[in-house]
Every structure is written in C-alpha cells, then in structure tokens.
Symmetry: C2
Subunit: 221 residues, 2 copies
Amino acid sequence: MAKKKLPAAKPNSPAPAKASSSPKRPRNAAATREAILQSALVAFSRAGYDGVGLREIAGEAGVTAILVNRYFGSKEEMFAEAVKVTFADTSLFSGDAASLADRVAQAMIGRTDQSRPDPFRLMLHSASNPRAAAILREALARQFEGPLAGMLGGRDTNERAALFLALVTGFDLLRNVIGSAPLARADEALLAKRIAAMLKPLVDDKHGKKAEKPQQLTLFG
Amino acid sequence: MAKKKLPAAKPNSPAPAKASSSPKRPRNAAATREAILQSALVAFSRAGYDGVGLREIAGEAGVTAILVNRYFGSKEEMFAEAVKVTFADTSLFSGDAASLADRVAQAMIGRTDQSRPDPFRLMLHSASNPRAAAILREALARQFEGPLAGMLGGRDTNERAALFLALVTGFDLLRNVIGSAPLARADEALLAKRIAAMLKPLVDDKHGKKAEKPQQLTLFG
DNA sequence: GTCTATATAATGATAGAC
DNA sequence: GTCTATCATTATATAGAC
C-alpha cells in the first residue's frame, strides 16, 4: 500500500517555524552523534549487525539514515564504536577472585532483558558476519579477556579467561538467543550453582603441567 | 562491469546435444534435491541462514535458484530440513557416561574444518535470525539435549544437558567463529583437560537440593 | 545541520518458455 | 526437469536542495 507516497501532500508547505522546537531533533552535532550511537547500542544488541538497518537505527534516534554515514563514515565503523562502548563496562569482572565464579554465575541468570545493550548478546547476534566477528574478536580480547585474565593467578591466564567467557557466552546463547527450554525454566538459584561449579576449575587452576618450572610466564596475548 | 550481460551471446544457439551428459546436472528429481540439500548443509554451516543466498546454494549444486523453491518450498523450509539432517549425527553423545566429558572435550578441539557441515557452527551462524533460532531451538532440544539428557543419571538431566551444550557451543563460538587467540593457539591436550574439568560437575551431579524426596521427577522438557 | 530523492546492488520468489 | 527473465523488496551509500 502507498507504493510511492502521495506526491501532493507536502511539496510546498509554507514552512511554519523552521522546525526549531521539534521534539526529537538535536541541534548540535555532538548530541545527534550520541543519540545515533545510543540507538545503535540497543539495536545491535537486540538484532545484530546484519539484523538491523541504518534506517531503523537512525529512525530510533529521530534522524534519517544519511546522518549515520555523516557522523560515523559507514555502518561498519559505527558498529566498531558501538562494540567498544558496549564492552566498556567490566564491572562484571571486578572484585575478589575467590567469589568470581559465584558472582558471574549469579549475574548471568538475571540477564534476560532483550531491550538493553549487552556485550554478550551483541556478540552472539553479530558473530555470523565475518567483518563483525573481526571487530568483536579484538574487543573481546582487549576489554574482556585481558581484564579477566588479570584477575586469575597461576598459568595460562588468557586461555582460562577465554574458557570462562566461553561458558558465559554459550549459556547466554542457549538461554536467551536460542531459547532452550530447560535453561529458560530452570530454578535460578540451582542454575547459578551449577554454572559456578563449572567456572571454579578455571579460577582455582588445578591443571597445567604439574611438574615444571614454577616461574615461566612471559607470553601475554 | 557487464551491467546487464551481453544479449547477443547465446540467444539462439542450436542446442547441440540437449545437455544429456553435462557434468553437474542430475537427471531425476531426487538426485537434484539431494544435491541442493548437501550444498545447503555446507553453506549454512559456513555462513549461516542470512549469510548465504539461494543463488549461491543452487550454484554449488549445479542448478539455478528456482529449483530450491521448487523442491523445498522456501528458503526457510530448506533450512529446517538442513538443520534436521545436520543434527542427526549424535555419535558425539554415544558411549559410556563415565568418559563422556573427556570424549566430547577431545572431539571439540579437533573441529576446525570450516568447509564441512557442523551442527554447532550452523547454530552459531544462524542464531541471530529469529526464525532460524526457532527452528534451531526445536532441533537442539529433540536431537541433542534429549539424547544427552538420557545419558545422565540423577536429577534435572535436561537442564544439565543444556549446560553441557552451552559450554561446547560457547567454546566453538569463541575459538572458531570469533577466533579468540588464546583458544586458537592453546595446547590442545591441555585445552581438552580443562574443558573436561568443566563438564564433569555436570556428568557426576553433586548439586540439586540435597535433602529432598529422592523420587520426584515428573517434568520433562 | 538535516532533509528528499536517488544510485547501485543484492535478496527471495515467481511466470512462462523449452 | 530446468532454464531465462523479471518481479518486488530491501540494503548501504551518495548528491544536491534548503
């Protein structure tokens, strides 16, 4: 319906007030850029890189799609900035290492709000695009794996941090993206206990080559 | 280049031999359907539901895109069948439960071939599409969670099976889709040990409400 | 600073020729 | 049984008006 929009509705309206008090039209560049970015955070987290168009992101910010390219250069560059911002909150990995597994497990079972920016959801929804995956790989390494590895003692901290994130991400995938029934319906307290039990072998490392030089870590990812 | 294809190359060729011995043109419907399906298995595993077009799938099978709709009805119906076939191999979850964690961990670290059909890769690359996610949810529950839960004793077998698959899937995501450096470079034997250590708390269940009725499981997912 | 209008390309699906 | 040709839609990105 309305195949090409009626061309006789607004071609020569007298321009009443130059739209100086329009509800959603920021006046300066910085505010417009920020509005677009905030819209992108939510949209990419909800639908992923390929799942949302520039028109949708711009429309939610109250502007048209052209401003996305004007302020960010391209969709890919905007995505890169959105990823960086979404991965900036590392509070999930702060605190003492002893209770890390329990805290993260407890935090993960509460993440069901589909309408808020979320680094794991953003990654899961965008990983299928190779370009997006490359951006996500770097953000994951520098903003998540790195800080998390810093909390872990012992050997192979980067590898153990990555396995830690693998479970967290996989759980989010099955529960909130795929919608696995056993995880969606499970008792939350018990679920958190089981996740913590899986994470703990990573935090208090019992593996690695038992009899070796006790001081030999020079390789950092 | 070649904006609309030169229209003077082959409009009235004399049709030399009716193409009865063309290298990639199956003669009967069943063979053509199977060729398309096999092409779809590989393509969907590599690029996901949204990442591959009908023309590409058909071209790899040696036919044109119209036959996809002819034999499967729509892209979505073809995807559903491809998912079912790709999830049909449950040999990963066969054998004794005692060594399940070690066997699966060992099997996962060897899955790096991007050019073969793979249920986890297929799921990871297609989960961002809501329609594909719904199809994957059902296949995962009936063809993976179910058989795996059947191998586990004790309580909440469906939930523990889902957590088991969460780690396996998350590991595949970070290592082979995102391309996390610590997981891609890690020593494989040590990696398998750590994954098995995370899976074992699920196989030999130590959680669940300790003091309760020992016989009370009537709810099946 | 923001818009309308458009360029270019790719998608899934379909009609009809052979 | 399979094709060429085309439909309608959508995508990102850009040109130029105001």
